[in-house]
Amino acid sequence: MKKVIKYLLVFGLGLCNLYGCSSKSLLDKDNPVTLTMWHVYGEQANSPMNQLIAEFNETEGKDKGIIINVTKITNASKIGSELEESLSKEPGADPMPDLYTGHIHNAKQVGLDKSVVWNDVFTEKEISNFVDEFLDAGMLEDKLVDLPLSKSTIVLFMNGTQFEKFSNDTAVSLNDFDTWNQTFDVAEKYYEWSNGKPLLCFDYLLNSIESYAIALGTKNMFTENGWYNTEDPAFKEAFRTFLEPLIKGHISASDFYSSTELTTGETLIGVSSSAAYLYLNDIVTYPDNTTEPLNAIALPYPKADKDHALMTQAGVGLCAYKTTEQKQEAASVFAHWLVEPKRNMDFVIQAGYMPVTKKAFKNLKNEKFEDEETQSLYNTLTEMKSDYTVISREVPNAISRKAYAFYDQVRSHQQEWQARANAGEDIDEIVDEAMNILKSLS
């Protein structure tokens, strides 16, 4: 009897073992783990990230037992507040995603203890393949939590069709946008040529003022709470440089994204993130319903002067919310797959970003692009990467909200300011008035 029982037990244990009691990986091809994801690539457009994720789900994910389920496509300015709502479990808020694309301050609000540290799942050699300054932007307490996926910088997107007409009439060339002073001179000409349209429409006017102030050698541009120090001489000078053409109507602050002002023909140039490339419309439509092709031309960000070529660096990275070991392993597989140089290159080109690996950057020079618009953008990005100095600043949500409040104020006052300037009022006084608005937001 004992023997029979012993054999039955051995048989049972053997079957149990065959049935999969032990496995090295926590992933199971037959029972895939699902990772929810929020990202910011392609809201209101055909998302290249969604295409990549669909490819992953059908290939690597299928083989390894991982499903990436995109539950929200949002934008970089909203994702912070949405994460906040989910973290604080506000009524009606979505549950925290397993993966999200965000800035380092988004990872900070989630917390290091609740974030997957990519150093734990990438080897040092793998991490060394990334562009160093992109890695620095993803560090939280010396831990990489915001894995670089794509980086953008601010560039000028120009309505090529309209510029050709303007250029033919005024002899202004693309070389006349090298510095801000040159650009504002062109803005004055365009304002007259177009019967009062602004040449430039800024998405992030304060970022441009900020980088100009850095070029002027600012020492004390920010207050303790991160807002602007309106007493700083360099900042004051930079502020005046940009506000003067704005008060005159030569430039404007966008309603939300300057790509809108480009497509409605309200401006000639949008000053925006290179990532806006994905969202550019193919035509410009005027109020009488006539249309023309946009023929977008990308131009490098103007310099403060010839010796100060500064470029901002932005762009979200991939962050993973720490939950289970299995999900961490799945996130690691997905992240490795996503940043493979060839795949990363294909992705960033579709979305108008810079690649994040050294190898992909090296290959950028030899890359053949499908159309002139893309070629123009990547010529510009390559030139800037080679000639410009990168500056980056972490902008918490609270500061972003203040900046948007300032832009709202600027837009609501602009026509009035312009009228007063045209009526002969001292522009410096109006600039001071604008500065007071900025100060009031601190």
């Binding site: 049935y19 392609g42 809201e43 499903i67 809108t260 319903n289």
Partner: protein
């Protein structure tokens, strides 16, 4: 004699075990078969059909009510838009036809419409709302035939609580004025080439209809439009208004609360096959579903289930129908991955196998335990019997106690019998001794008599005539068989009377034989005859 119960014990135990095992197994199998026959237990396939059918019922009712509600809202929207249109035209003293090439009038009209349209959109379970007017701002343009004015708003977030609206079609400044930013792929007017049946719709002879699904240009979104005609009191076709349902919204609005893995639900025009681009899909509320691509074929596989075959993966599902408008019937397919289905069947079979093994093991161990327990009083009893101590034993098992009582009574009877036999034996032994003593006395008498006989015989031999005795011996052989018989009887001491009775002969016959015997043997009397015979016997012995 030592009793051995070992072999019998094993045999009984094994028999009991086998009977119990057989009984329990038979009962279990009968029970399972009964449950199966009465539908209490089903196959995995039946289970899947049941779950999918329930899900399909839920999904179908949910969708029917969804489209009914949206159509009702759409009709109300159309009434509202018609009223705004006619009021604005009346205020401006224009006819509908005079809107064409009149940017200011169109601006004014869109400005009046955008806010109520936005309110309808916010109240409705859909992704967009539009009012498209059968007119254009600029009829001189080359593409004017395909351009139509109007307002088209979309929601940017999948939420009922805090919609952000964007302007997909319409005058940008009107949108901005109302805080509604233009879509990144904005156009000022509608392109009716995206509505292939526009000319048919212009007849305005329908309550509402759902358009085919189209790819929204320059976006990753597929949409369908619910359409209600805007027709003036005089029968003028003003345009269309309605709601947009995007694939994303459809998925958001119809989450499938199900425990089935990767549940996929399709809503497609009713047909023998499925063209996924013509339909919407949704899936599990808290999971991921695999959206099928391309054209799918359908094959029944029994148990009222269908196999839905696509290029990259297959599904198992059930079909239902949804009536969307008077003339539009759609099909819903609620399905799961073929691989998940097969895996569930394999898993179910493995579980059944393990369950059977565990059940058999349990039955085996149970039978073994209970047969052991059942036989233990008997084994103990037998052990006690071996020790001859049955009177002191009592068990709470009636049959065993009765058996022990019975055995005790039998023992008592046997003991009594043994005692009686013992006494009888002693008595017989005494009798035997007495008989032996008597026999010894008789033997002694016999020996004494024999000695006397021998002495007398020797004495008589001396009286016997040698010649006569010799003749007597020689003539014995001449006697007949009857004469010898009679002679022997005389020698044994029989009297003539005894011989007559013994041989059943007459006296004369005896006399006749006596004469022959005497004459043949040469004797003159019986005394002489007997003396010669005695001599003969003595010599022979």
């Amino acid at each position: 004699m030592q009793l051995s119960f070992k072999s019998k014990e094993r045999s009984m135990k094994r028999k009991l075990f086998v009977y119990m095992f057989f009984l329990v197994t038979t009962i279990s199998i009968t029970l399972l078969m009964g449950l199966f026959l009465f539908g209490r237990l089903g196959t995995t396939e039946q289970d899947f059909h049941k779950k999918l059918s329930i899900q399909s019922e839920y999904s179908t009712k949910n969708m029917e009510s969804y489209w009914d509600d949206l159509a009702s809202m759409n009709i109300a929207l159309a009434d509202n838009m018609e009223a705004i249109l006619e009021t604005t035209l009346a205020n401006q003293g224009l006819t509908f036809q005079q809107l064409q090439d009149n940017p200011n009038a169109i601006y004014s009209l869109e400005n009046d419409m955008i806010q109520p349209l936005g309110q309808y959109l916010e109240r409705s379970n859909c992704s967009g709302a539009y009012v498209q007017l059968d007119t254009t701002i600029n009829s001189t343009l080359d593409n004017a035939q395909t351009q139509r004015s109007g307002v088209y708003l979309q929601k940017t977030t999948m939420s009922y609580s805090k919609e952000d609206l964007i302007l997909y079609r319409g005058i940008a400044n009107i949108g901005k004025k109302h805080g509604i930013m233009p879509h990144r792929k904005w156009r000022q007017e509608f392109d009716i080439t995206l509505v292939p049946d526009y000319e048919e719709l212009k007849k305005g002879n329908f309550d509402y209809s759902l358009s085919n699904i189209i790819q929204l240009p320059y976006t990753g979104e597929r949409i369908a439009l619910l359409r209600v005609p805007l027709v003036g009191k005089d029968g003028t076709f003003y345009g269309l208004c309605g709601f947009e349902i995007s694939q994303s919204w459809f998925k958001f609005a119809h989450p499938q609360p199900s425990t089935l893995n990767h549940l996929t639900c399709l809503l497609v025009p009713d047909s023998d096959s499925i063209i996924t681009n013509e339909g919407f899909s949704t899936g599990s509320q808290n999971g991921f579903y695999y959206m099928p691509n391309g054209d799918l074929s359908i094959k029944p596989i029994g148990n009222n289930l269908l196999r839905i075959i696509s290029k990259n993966r297959n599904y198992i599902g059930v079909k239902n129908t949804v009536k969307i408008s008077k003339n539009q019937t759609y099909s819903t397919y609620v399905m799961i991955l073929d691989s998940d289905y097969n895996r569930a069947i394999v898993k179910s079979n493995i579980e059944l196998f393990f369950f059977t093994i565990v059940l058999l093991l349990f039955v085996f161990l149970g039978c073994s335990f209970f047969s052991q327990r059942y036989l233990s009083p008997i084994l103990k009893g037998l052990e006690q019997l071996r020790k001859d101590n049955k009177n002191s034993m009592r068990y709470d098992v009636q049959e065993i106690d009765d058996l022990l009582d019975f055995l005790s009574s039998k023992d008592y009877e046997v003991e009594n019998k043994m005692l009686t036999l013992e006494l009888e034996m002693q008595e017989n032994r005494k009798k035997l001794e007495q008989i032996e003593n008597e026999h010894e006395l008789i033997q002694r008498e016999y020996d004494k008599a024999r000695v006397e006989v021998e002495r007398l015989a020797k004495k008589r031999e001396a009286d016997v005539d040698e010649e006569e005795y010799k003749r007597f011996l020689e003539c014995l052989a001449t006697l007949t068989r009857k004469e010898k018989e009679i002679l022997d009887l005389y020698v044994k001491g029989y009297s003539s009377k005894d011989i007559l009775e013994t041989l059943n002969i007459t006296d004369n016959t005896l006399k006749y034989h006596n004469r022959n015997i005497y004459s043949k043997l040469g004797v003159k009397s019986r005394k002489q005859l007997l003396m010669y015979m005695t001599l003969l016997n003595n010599k022979r012995s």
